[in-house]
């Protein structure tokens, strides 16, 4: 199991943070373009889901396959996470986990398929790292790409310590 990369977007679509660990394939476009593309997709998925959901504001987990037979849509109906909308999607090779706060901060993590729902992990990154080291640091300008070394270091060690971080032995 492994974690590929991690993005934080603010509510205006700026990418506040990006880091990667085991990313074998690069997008082949500039990082700026990649962030825009990623955000645009997330934005569209959100509105797609809120329009297509047959039930009001229940969570929806979309599983998009890279080949046709893998296209599955799962609508999970747990009331626990009601109103949360988009949670994750997966293809044949990786899984994208998504967490959005009511203030519009979006945390996105790509992992391999073996990793279970990362909501708790993403929420923890938000509350113990983003809020602690960015929001509470008055010198960090909100809405700009994060320059805090402290945050970067803490995030890196947090991710590396995750039980599913290590690359599976070949």
């Amino acid at each position: 199991m492994t974690v590929h990369n991690f993005y934080i977007f603010d509510r205006n679509g700026s990418c506040l943070h990006y880091s990667e660990w085991n990313r074998k394939k690069q997008a082949g476009i500039s990082k700026d373009e990649e962030f825009k593309l990623m955000y645009g997709m997330l934005f569209s998925i959100r509105s797609f889901i809120s329009k297509m959901s047959p039930l009001d504001m229940y969570p929806v987990c979309v599983c998009v396959g890279e080949r046709e037979r893998e296209c599955v849509c799962v609508f999970s109906l747990t009331k626990l996470f009601r109103k949360d909308g988009f949670l994750a999607f997966q293809t044949s090779r990786y899984k994208l986990h998504y967490y959005e706060t009511p203030t519009g901060i979006k945390l996105v993590m790509n992992t391999d398929l073996g990793v279970p729902n990362c909501r708790d992990t993403l929420q923890q990154i938000y509350s113990t790292l983003y809020v602690e080291y960015i929001v509470k640091n008055p010198l960090c300008v909100l809405g700009e790409s994060l320059q805090s070394d402290l945050f970067n270091t803490k995030l890196d060690s947090f991710i590396r310590a995750l039980p599913f971080f290590s690359v599976r032995a070949a």
């Binding site: 509510r11 205006n12 679509g13 825009k36 955000y39 645009g40 934005f43 109103k83 949360d84 706060t101 009511p102 203030t103 519009g104 901060i105 279970p116 729902n117 708790d120 992990t121 929420q123 923890q124 938000y126 509350s127 113990t128 983003y130 809020v131 602690e132 929001v135 509470k136 909100l142 039980p163 599913f164």
Partner: protein, 180 residues
């Protein structure tokens, strides 16, 4: 998978007098720096706003409150969760407008004014105006434009302290710019 948060759920308790006195020193300094009360009110509101836009993140991280779907729910969360968490008081929510877009927070006690008496030459000073800014800033970050002001203030001889909140509009999320 469910690693528990290391953060203690109970926030660190601080002596509230230190907070109250620091706030008092801030207002005093602003009164020296600016000539009229209106300007001081404005500065307090502005500072409060800057606090609010950050405080909301802390609040959401601590309370795990989700998105509110109407203004009544918002009012409840503000009074019962947020005021309790940060000021240790629970204001009552009253005086709803018929349309449900306006309500009042009645503060039995205002921790900011514990040691304050307003001198006669500061008739227009809204001593706790920082709170209005905080509320406005925090709600703006969760897509609510709200007008907040003090309607009554015990410092000015009213029986209670009343903060009036009026919902203006929902702030729509923008489509990212330059996205084709």
């Amino acid at each position: 998978m469910s690693r528990q948060s290391n953060r203690p759920t109970d926030s660190k308790k601080m002596n509230s007098e230190l907070f109250t006195l620091t706030y008092g020193a801030l207002v005093t300094q602003l009164c020296k720096d600016y000539e009229n009360d209106e300007e001081v009110n404005k500065q307090l509101d502005k500072m409060g706003y800057n606090i609010g836009v950050r405080l909301i993140e802390d609040f959401l991280a601590r309370s795990s409150v989700g998105r509110c779907h109407d203004f009544r729910e918002t009012a409840d969360v503000i009074a019962k969760v947020a005021f309790k968490m940060y000021l240790g008081i629970t204001p009552s929510v009253t005086n709803w407008s018929p349309a449900g877009d306006e309500f009042s927070l009645i503060l039995e006690s205002n921790p900011l004014v514990d040691f304050v008496e307003l001198p006669d030459n500061h008739n227009n000073l809204v001593y706790s105006n920082l709170l209005c800014g905080v509320l406005r800033g925090a709600l703006e970050m969760v897509q609510m434009a709200v007008d907040v002001r003090f309607a009554q203030d015990t410092l000015r001889g009213d029986n209670v302290t009343e903060i009036r909140m009026k919902f203006i509009k929902r702030i729509e999320e923008n489509m990212p710019a330059g996205d084709e």
